[in-house]
Symmetry: C2
Subunit: 298 residues, 2 copies
Amino acid sequence: MNPLRILPFLAISCIFTSLFLSLGPNPVLASSNALSLKPRPILEDQAWNQESREGVDKKIEIFDEIREEEKRESEEEERERVRLYCESWRFAVETNNLQSWKVVPIECGGFVKKYMSERGYRSDLEMVAEVAGAFARNVELGQDGMDAWIFDIDETLLSNLVYYEENGFGLELFNGNKFDEWVDLAEAPAISPFLKLYEEVLEMGFKVFLLTGRSESQRSTTIHNLQNSGFQNWDRLIMRGAADQGKSAVFYKSEKRMEMEKEGFRILGNSGDQWSDLLGSSMAIRSFKLPNPMYYIP
Amino acid sequence: MNPLRILPFLAISCIFTSLFLSLGPNPVLASSNALSLKPRPILEDQAWNQESREGVDKKIEIFDEIREEEKRESEEEERERVRLYCESWRFAVETNNLQSWKVVPIECGGFVKKYMSERGYRSDLEMVAEVAGAFARNVELGQDGMDAWIFDIDETLLSNLVYYEENGFGLELFNGNKFDEWVDLAEAPAISPFLKLYEEVLEMGFKVFLLTGRSESQRSTTIHNLQNSGFQNWDRLIMRGAADQGKSAVFYKSEKRMEMEKEGFRILGNSGDQWSDLLGSSMAIRSFKLPNPMYYIP
């Protein structure tokens, strides 16, 4: 026989076989007794049990997948709930609706860390500095050199983020001694958008007052830190003296502003990360609140 | 010939054919002259050109993919930049750093719409109402019925979101006539967390003053709207009279608060969506700023 004669037969068979195989794994073909025509009840029972077992396994698998999916969804919902809560908490903090809070709520630890460490905090600071700069450029200054701008120091000109990174970003209760140790290092870097604003308002002819809750005992460290971070030519650095200890920040700072006004200064701008830097008496024409979701000073 | 004899031969051929086919589309087999053993230089050159062309096409495809990826990345970066900007813009608005803005920045249209329409606005309102309620419960009231709570109306007790949904969520310049038409419909729904607070402070024994920028000509419509939305038993509804037209909101509202104080009322709480509801003279012991990124009233 000419072997080429088999060729068309072979080709057609192959097409069918390939098509058959292409339908995917077939349980009948896959089972060991598929090609046997002789009845083998025991093995068939096993096969049936096997199939039934596979069916149960498949159902368990699907059930697990559904449970997994539900878990993912509820975790996603929980994350969204926490995010919304923390956004609203931050709104309440920054608008001064909340007041008198001691620590960041435990569920917002991650939220505050993310905000402070990633681009949110930086972006907010830049916007506040920009808005404050626009006001400074547009306000009319007198010719007598009595127009003043007040800057708070901590979280306004100098950043203590390095300290707060190591102390839970506000999750931990404030520890005065530990914080003073950090201040004494005089290593706090400048908040650059506010170093820029500081230099701009000086350039425009404002008198610059630094009004801080830091105590007189920290004067030389503070001057050292400020100068090392690029701040120069302020008019006065006002710190808590012996008589100011124990006063609330809002009261102490209001008193100091009142004294400035009595000397004839016009307080056009004020900038601080706490409402207690800005509210009270002798308020500035425009006050600029910097963000700070890490701590609250009354 | 017994046709079954072909079977082993057929099976082996089929296995090889299937294996061969399973290697995927083969360019040699696919080309029309693959099975011809006769050299056909012109066609082979075409095949070579074809392959080379395919190489170029592949490179173009990879290049397009890289460009597509870069585009996606830069779009993603752009979205992130806009989101950061709008978050910071909102911070500047809600802390009153910005002041005097007329419309939502065009790039923040989507941001404000999303905030107002999804869960953010609702969540913020609930938090403010909760914080205000906690203060109300903890402050000590006199026995003389002279403790007062002030509520603003628009975006504080009543929501004009339906109107702003149809007018760009603050992207469009404020149109007084169009807004008055909406007010005259008296269809503004209650802001439910503040309806709850309203009822709570009444229950506690506060006198409730409604202090609104709406004009006296809208009194009956406003009463109708308030009552239909569930507000009852307020002490006074104070609206702009003829003499108050043209005054800034902060001045008009300060004057009205001063009058309350002169009558002997103690203003413990105040709540409004504008800083001009809250700042000025005769300020409340505690002021509660509700969110509003849609408009600014000086």
